[in-house]
């Protein structure tokens, strides 16, 4: 075991896989000389050279499009969107091209590509440096969309993503890049893309979360435990594929479910999870499935009280958990 931060886990895993497999190339803005704005590829250009660690102009559509072509050509590219917010020019390539390539070629070829996106608020980034983008992509068959939030999960799942035969949107919550640390198993450790993970066991209510919301939910669960309410916390670290089995098993166990996410509440991941529980576990429910999501405004506001108002927090989650427990 080695203790590291989330961002260190991304860095170390990429480093190891780039050493292991020469087909990996990295494309993105400022990933080379600067080592990435979050230092994820620090030292890479020195070790792997400018042929593999490619500083591109500001052109997200082509960063991803070229990575798709290179993947089909036999490489295993990693494309970095510097912030998830800048994904939009690349959306066309990801959704219309990468996701469909295997299907439309009737399985003849696919796109082994990892698109990394630092996402989420809580960094005073305001309207264009705070966004949640998971729902856009989780809606699309042909893509895999994961959002691991602990160093061990990031390590295991990034390794799997890099070895996967299909395109993976790999979401890294940037507000917990450095604040979250944890032990990572040494060696060639992988976690498949798909399974959810029960991060805390409790008999009274079940909370589903990912990203920074997961850590806030765990903190909120501790507060409730002090009052005698025991919460299960499920880390929905993979959104597509979604682990229906674990989601339903944990729902049935307590009969009271809350989904917490930072993205705009309507049409977000919470809606899908809630619908799944309502459809499949209705008979076992003791309360309506509840959601705590972001407000219905189009982007993250700037100043601190405003951003706090938007973001999930242990306090807000604890209030909702108590409401659910008392139902």
């Amino acid at each position: 075991m080695t203790e590291k931060s989330n961002v260190q886990a991304v860095h170390d895993t990429l480093l190891g896989e780039f050493r292991r497999d020469e087909r990996h190339i990295l494309l993105g803005e400022d990933v080379g000389v600067r080592g990435g704005v979050f230092r994820v590829s620090d030292g890479f250009i020195e070790e792997f050279g400018a042929d593999r660690i490619i500083d591109t102009p500001v052109a997200e559509s082509s960063i991803v499009g070229i990575a798709i072509g290179a993947a089909i050509g036999g490489l295993r590219p990693v494309a970095e969107m510097q912030f998830a917010d800048f994904h939009a020019p690349a959306f066309e390539q990801i959704v219309n091209e990468a996701a469909r390539m295997r299907y439309r070629s009737v399985g003849a070829f696919g796109v082994p590509l990892v698109i990394r996106m630092p996402w989420g608020g809580g960094v005073r980034g305001a309207l264009y440096h705070s966004q949640s983008v998971e729902a856009f992509y989780a809606h699309v068959p042909g893509l895999k969309v994961v959002a691991p939030s602990t160093p061990a999960d990031i390590t295991g799942m990034l390794r799997s993503a890099l070895r996967d035969a299909d395109p993976v949107v790999f979401l890294e919550h940037k507000a917990i890049y450095r604040s979250v640390k944890g032990d990572v198993p040494d060696g060639d450790y992988t976690i498949p893309l798909g399974p959810a993970d029960v991060k805390r066991e409790g008999a009274d209510i079940t909370v589903y979360a990912y990203g920074i919301s997961l850590h806030h939910a765990l903190a909120a669960a501790e507060r409730l435990a002090a009052d005698g309410v025991q919460a299960t916390v499920v880390d929905v670290r993979s959104l597509r594929p979604l682990d229906a089995e674990t989601v339903l098993r944990e729902a049935r166990k307590t009969g009271k479910c809350l989904i917490v996410y930072e993205d705009n509440r309507l049409f977000g991941a919470g809606a899908e999870i809630a619908a799944l529980i309502a459809e499949e576990a209705f008979e076992d429910l003791d309360a309506p499935v509840m959601r705590l999501g972001g407000p219905e405004i189009p982007a993250m506001p700037f100043n601190k009280p405003q951003e706090d108002w938007f973001m999930p927090s242990p306090e807000k989650i604890a209030v909702k958990m108590r409401e659910l427990a008392a139902y």
Binding site: D30, V58, A59, F86, L127, H129, P301, Q306, D308, W309
Partner: protein, 322 residues
């Protein structure tokens, strides 16, 4: 050189000085932890925004960038409301919702700074379409960097503007870097203005450090646009003094390079020199302008600091018209 009258010449200097002092003060406030997030300083590039915007009326439009303070000031923004926005106050241009990168002022035709590189280019082009459609002589200017010049939006918009003969100026501020990426790694040509030929519009390369030059080039381009002759692509060679953002370690450039630009090509020093040698202003005139600008900046900061911190209460407003 087309002769500049005294009043115009001194006004160009005043606006450049206002931008320079605004940035100096913003950096100071940032250092005092009064500004959250990031700010991108326009210091060093003053000659571009000022030379171009001097030809614009309040009903002409601009779109700006993440490095937008200079464009806002040159298009007539109030520095008090700008500081207030940087400080996240109710009295700011976006009521504290936006911060540095999102200042807009439609009463002056400023359609906004923009956190998305390349995001403003088609918007300026569309504003120009409005002018054509309504038969007015309004023009639009899109400012963007060398980095922005490599987004697809510029290429699509330049083509459309050329085939539709829209009254728009595409103003590329080549400050030599896009974050850490030097232009030599991002362009296969040394002269970016060559691109204009491929779209069928005039392309002009200009020294962005001499406001007389940008003023002259923009005069022609704006006149062309107003009279229905279509778009112009202007590439202003310039330099940003600060890092990409405040606190950037700047591993991609040398101290010597920065010092060289500051010492030999500073737009304010250059302007002071010709203002005095051409007898358009005396040292005393310039000192007076400097004092007035300093007072305006301090007044602006005081206004901003007196403003209420923006509260979340009104955040649900303005998502839709009704």
């Amino acid at each position: 050189m087309s002769a500049l009258d005294r009043a115009t010449a001194l006004e160009l200097y005043r606006v450049m000085r206002t931008i320079r002092q605004f940035e100096a003060r913003a950096v100071q406030l940032f250092g005092e932890n009064k500004i959250w997030g990031t700010i991108h300083s326009y210091a060093g590039q003053e000659g571009v925004a000022v030379g171009v915007c001097a030809h614009l009326r309040d009903d002409d439009w601009i779109t700006s960038t993440h490095r937008g303070h200079g464009h806002c000031i040159a298009k007539g923004a109030d520095v008090g409301r700008m500081f207030a926005e940087l400080l996240g106050r109710e009295t700011g241009y976006c009521r504290g919702r936006g911060g540095s990168m999102h200042i807009a002022d439609t009463s002056k035709g400023n359609l906004g700074a923009n956190g998305i590189v390349g995001g403003g280019i088609p918007i300026a082009t569309g504003a120009a379409l409005t002018a054509t459609y309504t038969g007015s002589d309004r023009v639009a200017v899109s400012f963007f960097g060398d980095g922005g010049a490599n987004q697809g939006t510029l290429h699509e918009s330049m083509n459309l503007a050329a085939i539709w003969k829209l009254p728009v100026l595409f103003v590329c501020e080549n400050n030599q870097y896009a974050e850490t990426n030097p232009v030599k790694d991002a362009f296969a040509v040394e002269d970016i203005s060559l691109r204009a030929a491929g779209y069928g519009m005039p392309g002009v390369r200009v020294n962005g450090q001499d406001v007389r030059e940008t003023y002259r080039v923009a005069a022609d381009a704006v006149a062309r646009a107003r009279s229905g002759l279509g778009p112009t692509f202007i590439v202003a060679e310039t330099y940003r003094y600060e890092g990409h953002y405040y606190g950037d370690p700047q591993v991609y450039r040398t101290k010597d390079e920065i010092e060289d630009w500051r010492a030999k090509r500073d737009p304010l020093v250059i302007a002071r020199t010709w203002l005095t040698t051409d007898r358009l202003a005396s040292e005393a005139d310039l000192a007076r302008v400097d004092r007035e600008v300093d007072a305006e900046i301090e007044k602006g900061v005081a206004f901003a600091e007196a403003g209420e911190p923006a509260s979340p209460i009104r955040l649900p407003e303005d998502v839709y018209a009704g």
